[in-house]
């Protein structure tokens, strides 16, 4: 059964995890999935920074929080247009510093640039920004939906795909399209320690979309490749470099190296950027060791240990078979 071109794609909650409820920003708390779907109310920039820093939202969700925080501050602002520009510059600085690996500054600088230009051109800054930000978000949404279709066309009948961490809904939605097209496919999702995005988010949303998915420990990735259980790898990315290198959740680099070793094509969803020249230049967030050594409030090991928790891996571009980009600039 072929899918109609005009038929809408069923969305995963992770695809667009930030919404407005009146004047309050509602952010999907990804740490509670799969137990329940709960949204955190965000009223201020400080609260927005907290949901990002505490990883209540991550990946694309962070990007949405960043953009919508400007709308939040615009709605709250009671003072002059000049003071609005200053407030938004302050908002940008706070968001830029929330997580070092992510290129929030590339997005916040666009918004601040719009604000300054509107002020310089003596336009209504508030109205101009609301129009620009909403238009930008609509554009991103459209491009992501187009990429979902592209992912679906990349996946062939009888493919078995390995994925890591979570790509914010796109893979699950592509899986749905494949299912509607009658393709018989399967996914292996790594659990993705220490936060278990694979277990909690990816396996959950793929299952919700009716996809066939099997969860594996991070240490089993070589085994499934060596045994011929997967024939494709599709991952997301958190940051891209001018030369095509990218950063993604810790654990991605070994998967890329293994895929090359076993001759398995490796695909990555990217957001191109020229800000950073090469992978070695990406600042890698090192998170607190307690996030690795405790879980659910309890120590994972019965002795005092040190832990080391780099949040991201860098993958050199030579390991990539094909990138599927969305330009957010």
């Amino acid at each position: 059964m072929r899918r109609s071109k005009n038929r809408s794609i069923k969305e995963s909650p992770l695809f667009w995890p930030v919404h407005w409820k009146g004047d309050v920003l509602s952010v999907l708390d990804e740490t509670l999935i799969p137990r329940r779907l709960n949204y955190i109310k965000v009223h201020t920039t400080a609260e927005a920074v907290k949901v990002i820093r505490d990883m209540k939202t991550r990946a694309f969700g962070q990007f949405l929080v960043v953009l919508n925080t400007f709308l939040l501050e615009i709605n709250r602002h009671k003072g002059s247009e000049q003071n609005l520009v200053k407030k938004l510059e302050k908002t940008a600085r706070a968001l830029n510093n929330s997580r070092p690996t992510f290129p929030f500054a590339e997005v916040t600088s666009i918004v601040v640039g719009w604000a300054r230009k509107a002020a310089d051109d003596q336009l209504n800054v508030r109205e101009s920004l609301i129009k620009n930000i909403n238009g930008y978000l609509q554009g991103i949404r459209f491009r992501r939906l187009e990429r979902v279709k592209k992912i679906a066309s990349l996946i062939k009948n009888r493919d078995s795909i390995l994925t890591h961490c979570n790509v914010s809904g796109e893979l699950a939605m592509a899986a749905r399209i494949c299912q509607e097209e009658g393709k018989d496919i399967h996914f292996f999702a790594t659990e993705t320690r220490p936060y278990f995005q694979g277990s909690k988010l990816t396996a959950w949303e793929l299952g919700r979309m009716g996809a066939s998915v099997t969860l594996i420990a991070d240490n089993a990735v070589a085994s499934v490749m060596a045994d011929g259980l997967v024939n494709k790898v599709i991952v997301g990315s958190d940051r891209s470099c001018a030369n095509g290198d990218f950063a993604n959740k810790i654990g991605t680099y070994p998967i890329a190296v293994l895929a090359k070793e076993f001759g398995i094509p490796f695909y990555v969803l990217t957001q191109p950027s020229n800000t950073i020249p090469r992978g070695e230049d990406i600042p890698i967030e090192i998170r607190q060791e307690k996030e690795l050594l405790t879980f659910n409030g309890r120590a994972t090991l019965p002795f005092k240990a040190r832990g080391f928790y780099p949040g991201f891996d860098v993958v050199p571009h030579e390991f990539i078979t094909e990138s599927l980009p969305i330009d957010v600039r």
Partner: protein
């Protein structure tokens, strides 16, 4: 641990016999990194206890984090526990092949030592559904939990039997 990584990390993977750890006297304390060993964290528990008993505090990594150390060129050697050896290679704990391939790519030596007996090839799938007593996956999820894997001799520098 601070962001500063030691320059010459020794990576331990798999569950080693108790006596194996006597060789670490004299090693810098901050250079020994052990992998967790999902699903049960058996490797970290067993190896960590043996090291702490010898007043060595290891640094723990999740099973997916070793690649970062290779990328940053901080790995000096990889030591892995084996179950059985053959002319063509060895059967090791799951996760060994990841390190073997990374080591080959980065030209790092891989040494195999006898590990504690691990008779099971696979764990029950429910072992992957929980962590530290809490369910992490949705109901109805399927799991695949191999506990051992083959490492071809081309990845192995030396086997200490």
């Amino acid at each position: 641990m601070s962001d500063k990584l030691p320059d010459h990390v020794i990576l331990l993977q798999g569950v080693f016999e108790e006596g194996f750890f006597d060789r670490f006297s004299g090693q810098p304390q901050d250079a020994i990194f052990i992998l967790e060993g999902r699903p049960g964290l058996t490797a970290a528990r067993s190896n960590g206890r043996a090291l702490v008993k010898r007043k060595i505090q290891p640094t723990v990594l999740a099973d997916n984090m070793a690649g970062f150390l290779f990328y940053k060129k901080r790995v000096k050697e990889v030591w892995m526990a084996y179950q059985s050896v053959y002319p063509e290679g060895a059967v090791c704990s799951i996760g060994a092949m990841i390190l073997a391939v990374l080591a080959k790519k980065h030209r790092i030596a891989v040494y195999l030592f006898k590990g504690r007996p691990q008779p099971d090839l696979m764990a029950k799938e429910k072992e992957i559904f929980s962590f530290n007593g809490q369910r992490v996956s949705a109901a109805g999820t399927r799991g695949y939990v191999p506990l051992l894997e083959w490492v071809d001799k081309k990845y192995i520098t030396k086997i200490y039997s």
